[in-house]
């Protein structure tokens, strides 16, 4: 029982960063932009999340609003990089895959460089801590699993219905979907395709930046240039897992994190399993396997994904 509670608690706790980032990437992809540079934006966001509280008080505890500023800084840097990416792939219409890899290098590179120049070393911050929600956390089993987390974790989970609502119910979400599926149709109705795409990139960038800042401020509470370690790519992959639907993306993020914590627990408690590498593979294999057996058609996805829009150019 204890084992199960531990695994589930940690799953909820650690899935937040991936969840936020892949929801952001969902906005990008829904608008037709494939942003492989999520990793770079996350890294930049992580750096900003570090920089602001660190320059305020180093590793000492800082007032909550400073940490919040850190999160906002991450978010803002994400917006900037998102818009910059937009300039390249929307305005200049560069191929998105390659530009995404470029963005990834740029983000990781800048974050690492600025970190070296202005902070240096591997430094830590006090960050935003988890806390037990009074009363609720006292509920047996459920209390521990759901109500002992970082405030941002709750926000991440709230983002799921919110994103769902935004993308499926609001006018803006509808425009985003239209622009990502048939930009010509949207254009013919007077919707400014490129503006919507920029907006979606800003949103996606903001969330990727926030996810990065979450990693530094709420989870790792430290920064080094390797902090993202491929989580951006996983986030992109999870969007495909989720067929561009927030609820399924959440399922993917939870599944991945669940497998990750589960394998950790197996390593800890089943020492007779000598070759831990195979356990480390578990989350990746599981995600592929679940997608393979779930077999859902992709018909409702953004079919203009990756294609730049040009009103006059016909393809």
């Amino acid at each position: 029982m204890n084992f199960v509670i531990t695994v589930l608690t940690l799953t909820v706790r650690f899935s937040a960063a991936l969840l936020i980032a892949s929801l952001g990437e969902m906005f990008n992809q829904r608008s037709g932009i494939f942003n492989l540079g999520c990793e770079g934006i996350m890294c930049m966001g992580a750096f900003m999340g570090m920089l602001i509280p660190f320059s305020y008080a180093g590793a000492e505890a800082v007032p909550f609003y400073i940490n919040l500023l850190g999160l906002l800084g991450g978010l803002a840097s994400g917006i900037v990089l998102g818009l910059f990416f937009g300039l390249i792939v929307i305005t200049f219409r560069a191929p998105q895959g390659i530009a995404g890899i470029g963005l990834q290098m740029l983000g990781v590179g800048i974050a690492g460089t600025l970190f070296r120049s202005y902070i240096g070393g591997t430094q830590s911050i006090s960050g935003i801590s988890s806390f037990d929600i009074p009363l609720l956390s006292q509920i047996p089993v459920v209390g521990k699993i759901f109500f002992t987390h970082n405030p941002i974790v709750y926000i991440a989970y709230l983002m799921v219905p919110l994103a769902s609502y935004i993308i499926f119910k609001t006018p803006w979400g509808m425009k985003v979907r239209a622009v990502g599926t048939n930009p010509r149709a949207a254009d013919s109705l007077g919707i400014n395709v490129n503006r919507i795409r920029y907006q979606a990139l800003a949103t996606g960038g903001a969330m990727a930046g926030l996810a990065g800042a979450f990693l530094t401020l709420c989870q790792a509470k430290m920064f080094n240039a390797d902090i993202i370690s491929g989580r951006g790519f996983i986030a992109v992959a999870l969007v495909y897992f989720g067929h561009w639907k927030p609820s399924r993306i959440m399922f993917g993020a939870i599944l991945f994190t669940f497998a990750q914590t589960l394998q950790t627990q197996i390593q800890i408690f089943v020492p007779s399993f000598k070759y831990y590498e195979f356990l480390n593979m578990l989350p990746y294999v599981l995600v592929i396997a679940v997608l393979a057996i779930s077999r859902e058609s992709n018909k409702l996805g953004p079919s203009a994904l990756g294609k730049p829009f040009n009103r006059e150019m016909r393809t």
Binding site: L36, G40, I88, F92, R93, A94, P95, G97, I98, A99, I101, G102, L103, Q104, M105, L106, G107, V108, G109, I110, A111, G112, T113, L114, F115, R116, S117, A225, G230, F233, I234, V236, A237, L238, Y240, F241, Y275, E277, F278, N280, M281, Y284, V285, V287, I288, L291, A292, I293, R295, S297, N298, P308, N310, E312, M313
Partner: protein
């Protein structure tokens, strides 16, 4: 001079691009406290300092060419292979294992066998996402990203357990995870003594020719390209799209596997952690830079080799921090792709003509 505006257009785009790359990069360099001129000079002139340094560039171009060729085959067939990193790791592991199995065999047998082993392992690792996509509609972007991590762990396991250098643990220690030195009969010799450039370059060039022939001269290549360009039309035309998807992905993986084999047999001489060096991702960039054609991929790989090489020389000769090199590479990639798209866009060129050349035209008319 009817088309002089075209030349002016291209020249001005390139000039603006170079300026903006320099500007963007300069901001970074200055922020990091480096010297702008030195930095750019080292990137550009470093490789041409001597024949030896240029060989360093070619050395990096070898795996890039091979991987990019494979990526281009898959891409042309409608599947994006970003799993080359993992396929390469599998190739390295298999080639290394084979190298010890054929110890003592004549070189002429041993080397092809090792390459074949790497190729087969890479092909298997490409086959899986191909199959998953063709039969179960699993997005290759998901499966290849995930399989990269699986391969990395498996590779790590191979180095630590089955391929572990016996010398490392001979003294009763736990040893560092790496394979033993490959037997001499499986090492690719150097093209020119005193440089790092190994015979793998011929393999890369041969593969470029093979890919060209395969994709543009044979019916199988034709079918792959048709499947990639429009799977619906290909299906209509009686082409077994799923089959060619799997085949092309296996070929793509096989190439990455060969790249791994060549890299371990030519450059490193033993399997180590970290020798995939991100070539799998750079390979995708190179393939797209090279317009998915062997004739473009080779120069693109050399260009990229220059960028990669600057990683070392910049640190040696300037004071820029190592991560800045990554950032600069990012800037350069972004600028080059943007420029490429702008230059190739007739509509923008047309606007340029209207803006700046319509008066000359009228005068001429």
């Amino acid at each position: 001079m009817k088309n002089s505006y075209k030349i002016w257009f291209k020249v001005s785009v390139v000039v603006i691009a170079v300026l903006s790359a320099i500007l963007l990069g300069s901001l970074l360099i200055i922020a990091a406290g480096g010297n702008v001129l030195d930095t750019y000079w080292i990137i550009i002139s470093g490789p041409f300092y001597s024949f030896r340094t240029f060989c360093e560039v070619l050395l990096r171009a070898i795996p890039l060419i091979i991987i990019a060729l494979g990526v281009s085959v898959a891409y042309r067939s409608g599947i994006i292979n970003i799993g080359a990193e993992g396929q390469m790791a599998m190739g390295i592991a298999a080639a290394t294992a084979m190298a010890f199995a054929v110890e003592g065999a004549p070189k002429i047998v041993a080397i092809p066998l090792c390459i074949l082993a790497g190729m087969a392992a890479g092909a298997v690792w490409g086959f899986i996402p191909g199959l998953l996509k063709a039969k179960l509609e699993v997005s290759e972007l998901l499966s290849t990203v995930m399989l990269n991590y699986v391969a990395a762990q498996f590779y790590s396991f191979c180095l630590r357990v089955p391929l572990m250098d016996p010398a490392e643990i001979a003294g009763g220690g736990t040893g560092t995870a790496m394979s033993a030195k490959l037997p001499q009969n499986t090492i690719l010799s150097k093209v020119v003594k005193g440089t790092v450039l190994h015979q793998g370059i011929w393999i890369a060039l041969a593969l470029a020719i093979i890919v060209y022939i395969l994709m543009w001269k044979t019916s199988a290549g034709y079918k792959m390209r048709a499947s990639g360009a429009s799977s619906r039309a290909a299906r209509y035309g009686g082409i077994n799209v799923a089959f060619y998807l799997i085949v092309s992905m296996s070929i793509s993986g096989a190439f990455a596997g060969i790249a791994g084999a060549v890299e371990v047999m030519g450059t490193h001489g033993r399997a180590l952690e970290g020798i995939t060096s991100g070539y799998g991702f750079s390979g995708v960039v190179v393939a797209l830079f090279g317009a998915l054609h062997p004739a473009g991929i080779i120069p693109a790989a050399i260009l990229f080799g220059i960028l990669l090489y600057s990683q070392v020389s910049l640190q040696l000769f300037t004071s820029v921090p190592p991560n800045l090199v990554t950032a600069l590479q990012g800037v350069i990639i972004l600028v080059i792709v943007s420029v490429q798209m702008i230059i190739d866009n007739p509509y923008i060129m047309e606007r340029f003509r209207k803006r700046f050349f319509s008066r000359t035209k009228e005068a001429a008319a």
